[in-house]
Symmetry: C2
Subunit: 598 residues, 2 copies
């Protein structure tokens, strides 16, 4: 069974050495984030993840969730108790406002905790992500009364939340959804329709489940501009927080799916269920995006989390498994064979996983910092820049990190050889679990389109110009000698390819809109690789700064950063050249075949 | 549930138009392969695959195999009956010698049938592949008596076969296996040991199971040069073919694994089981490689088969699923939304799968032809060249086709969005099933090492020189104008990169053997892409030749070849540049970290 040790040191290195949160005391709340508090928080989260959630991960996969004839759903053995520990530890509301019982800790810190949760138990983590996402949508869009009614119990985890968007015929295309809302004389609505793929739609871990539901008010315009968001609780709460009778919401069935068996994916039936409008009528998509962006960042984080745990187990196996002899001469003559970590191709796999996992984590932490600026800064200009950054980077974090999370899980499984295919060893579960991250919260193709068609041109390209300029200035101010050039030069090339691709798309999409779609996936990958390259330069800079004073383990840790960065720029970044060539090939050969030829 | 239509036309195009089997009448048996006979054979195989095996594929996945307390194993419902139809149709022995009841059809034809089987039901196909592999090992290495005793019943499928290589501590490294063989006075041996990962090790589909077992004769030298091959039947056959009592062979358990649930992966216990030496003592590895090479080609074929069926279902879904509107303007104003095939990124996925599936199929058919020359030609020189080719191409077909098979299954699943993650739709089964192909019969990293460290330098590099020269001459003789240049030029560049990488490895591995291992995976991929490029040129040439006389469906079929070829050279082949850069980066950053840093 897989084991897990939360990578606290890696995250502290990012917070303290790379992104210097000590220099961000101007962000409200940051001055209280002393190194002690940060370390203690992460240590607690690590304990919960390593000791409670990790052992439940295989159980969750094997047992799955069960729906009973009365529509109730049982979660796997131990999940309920773990959830109690999770909520009692205050983790559900760790970055929620104090006003509603939250701890108001920075987003950058809750992002790191999410990584630990994802590594240890993705199915479990999703219960909290969805509740936090629903809470943030209510926080941003609900009325004061609604907030008072729902948020304290959701922040504490007494109640959980869901997102009800998808219908059988309506996934990406929310404009065609059919769930209806009939206005009632008391200001409430009767909601009717069937939603599918509802994670944590029904379960036994909380006293109430607060469904946020997209529906169309009778007579609303067709398309996305006629969609509204409703809060539809499983049990309708009274003003005093006590629960009155059952609402007409029920779980019709649970999907049998490839992975994340520990989380119940429900078909939810709303049968004249009572709901209340959240925010403005016909502006549901706005409110939904608050949830969605939270969820998308979480998906990017889980890519890092699954990569990390898959890596740890593959590395342990590679050091332990004796098979064959090193090509460059026997390394352990006293053993029956050398451990497979002597084989270059095993190293290639392990180094590849490390190189992207560590860069992906840096991207998450860097973006978490911007997230806090966007949420908390007093400086409107800084907030705007941070929001720009978030908008631009969210699809990249979601899609690129999740693509790599899956590829890494596959590579880690491969290190195990045949043993990786066996369920008991748990490596194949990481692959099955990671697979969903490329699909849910907007399939990665949609993220690519969001980036290339919306985010690039928003506000006249303000966000992308700012980012390119930041990276460009950074690379120019780095010394070309003293060992920095080996890192800087390939990243500069990658940036220039990315800029070239950006111009190419802008130019060619004017004539033919399909060119955006044709370029989008490769473009997102090119963007992601370049961003990772930038992250590696930042990490190298910090490692080189800290290296002279370091010794022992810490010296080895910093040296490993430099080696891994070299591996990244030499062996992973070259893909950017191929991506640019592909983008510049254009849409013709992709779009040429008539539909009936497929 | 997925559907399947066997791609007969694509295979006929390869046989008749691209590789011109009519020009190979000098290969014994080929002159009888009239177009009628070929088409009728493929049509029969298609019927079995589409109507019998395809519907059993989900059942096999859901039910799996079950071991009972007495050690017996039940296969999924319907498998036994399907196997009866399969054997009664003569498919098991379709390319076995007539002497033992086979149909002696060419290998190139049985390769195509294997593709159909893999598409429709991989778990089922493995029962036949292993029997055929075991038969071919006996055919090449067993005594006349042994052949007479075992082959007729294995060729008919009355008995099935297995390969018993792996032990818990000994997978790739067969030199350390521990299973023992004690010589008996009657010339037989007592075999003792435990083998794992034995596909079809125990089941209810055949009257007997013939285990081919690698073991070490008492007192044999350590390492691979002390390994012998034994035939160990489940029931010991009498000379008249009747069966005497149980041998001491039993299935200890069945593995729970990621996929191919319809095939029972057994732990096999040999407890003083009676076995007989096959071939020479201590030369078991040779005999094993006969099986292994058969199995490796089959794995390459199954990459094509899974890609094909995954593609067919993704394409059908993309034409059917209505979601969103085309970027270049509404295509179906009367529908609630456009079918998702209008979206460039969906096209990108479908075209990517096609482009590599069709090239992979061509590589299989081309190699099948060489296989027949190697097996049947009267011309020793031609046989030698064909064997060289087989040796060189086998690891590429195994690893490259299976890597693409998996990547394609993942891409096809992605086209389904969330519905691809749901078990009932069957797309996730293709992913789980395809995953094994990268692992078994020598993990793909081992194939890469076999190619880069053994096959390149064999006989002074004779095989690789011959292949490079063939491709080089071919590309030079193709006209640069008339629309051929768009295909020829990128393939020429790929070939030149491959040649450059080959020289780089030869040069640098002399100083440091780890350089071979460090380059190997990228090198195999570079080789595979270049080989696919060559296949596309051959297909383009044939399509252009046939185009003027074609109309209707056939014209569209040929036009699609040209478009898909362009997609391949423009959007997939550019990866070769990145691969060369990676190879030339060398082993340093890969091998530098101390073991304890992992």
């Amino acid at each position: 069974m897989p084991t897990y040790k939360a990578p606290i040191r890696d995250n502290l290195f990012l917070l303290n050495d790379v992104f210097r949160i000590d220099q961000h005391a101007d962000i409200p709340g940051y001055s209280e984030m002393t190194p002690d508090i940060i370390e203690a928080t992460l240590a607690e989260a690590a304990k919960l993840s390593e000791q409670v959630l990790t052992p439940l991960n295989r159980i969750g996969d094997e047992e799955g969730c069960h729906r009973h004839d009365d529509g109730s759903v049982t979660t796997p053995k131990g999940f309920k108790e773990a959830f109690k520990m999770f909520t009692e530890g205050g983790w559900m509301g760790m970055s929620a406002p104090a006003e509603f019982g939250g701890q108001e800790l920075p987003a950058v810190l809750s992002g790191i905790v999410s990584e630990f949760l994802a590594s240890s138990n993705l199915a479990f983590m999703m219960f909290s992500v969805l509740t936090q996402g629903a809470s943030s949508a209510l926080l941003d869009h609900a009325s004061t009364e609604q907030k008072k009614l729902y948020l304290p119990n959701m922040v504490s985890g007494k109640w959980t939340g869901t997102m009800n968007l998808t219908e059988a015929h309506s996934g990406t295309d929310l404009g065609i959804l059919r769930t209806k809302a009939k206005p009632q004389s008391d200001g409430s609505y009767k909601i009717s329709g069937t939603k599918i793929f509802i994670s944590a739609g029904e379960h036994d871990m909380s006293e109430n489940i607060i469904h946020l539901v997209l529906a169309r008010i009778e007579g609303a315009p067709a398309g996305v501009h006629g969609i509204s968001l409703f809060v539809v609780p499983k049990f309708i709460p009274n003003a005093d927080g006590s629960l009155s009778g059952n609402n007409n919401v029920s779980c019709g069935s649970i999907e049998h799916k490839m992975g994340i068996h520990g989380n119940c994916t429900c078909v939810m039936n709303f049968d004249d269920a009572t709901g209340w409008l959240v925010g403005e009528a016909n502006h549901g998509l706005n409110a939904m995006f608050t949830m969605m962006n939270h969820a998308r960042l979480s998906v990017g984080i889980l890519g890092v989390g699954l990569s990390e745990v898959a890596y740890q187990n593959a590395a342990a196996y590679a050091k332990d498994r004796l098979q064959g002899r090193s090509l460059s001469g026997v390394k352990f003559p006293d053993k029956i064979a050398d451990p497979i970590i002597v084989h270059p191709d095993v190293r290639r796999s392990l180094m590849s996983i490390r190189a992207v996992t560590e860069a992906g984590r840096a991207l998450v932490v860097w973006t978490g910092l911007r997230h806090d600026i966007a949420l908390r800064s007093q400086d409107a200009k800084a907030r705007e820049a941070a929001e720009d950054h978030m908008g631009l980077i969210t699809p990249i974090i979601k899609a690129f990190n999740s693509d790599f999370g899956f590829e890494n899980a596959v590579m880690a499984q491969q290190v195990y050889g045949g043993h990786g295919y066996i369920a008991d060893n748990g490596m194949e579960q990481f692959v099955r679990d990671a697979r969903i991250s490329q699909i849910y919260e907007g399939a990665n193709g949609i993220q690519a389109l969001d980036l290339a068609s919306r985010k690039l041109s928003m506000n006249g390209g303000r966000a992308v110009k700012a980012l390119f300029s930041e990276v460009d200035v950074y690379l120019k101010t780095q010394p070309d000698q003293d060992g920095m050039a080996v890192y800087i030069k390939p990243v500069r090339e990658a940036l220039s390819r990315l800029q070239q691709a950006t111009i190419w798309i802008a130019k060619h999409s004017a004539e033919n809109h399909d060119e955006i779609g044709a370029a989008s996936y490769d473009y997102l990958r090119l963007f992601g690789l370049t961003a990772y390259g930038y992250m590696w330069c930042r990490m190298v800079e910090a490692a080189r700064r800290a290296r002279p004073a370091a010794n022992g383990d810490m010296a080895q840790f910093l040296d490993a950063k430099l080696t891994t960065a070299r591996f990244f720029v030499q062996r992973i970044l070259p893909e950017t050249a191929a991506l640019l060539t592909r983008i510049e090939a254009g849409a013709a050969s992709m779009m040429e075949l008539p539909v009936e030829a497929f």
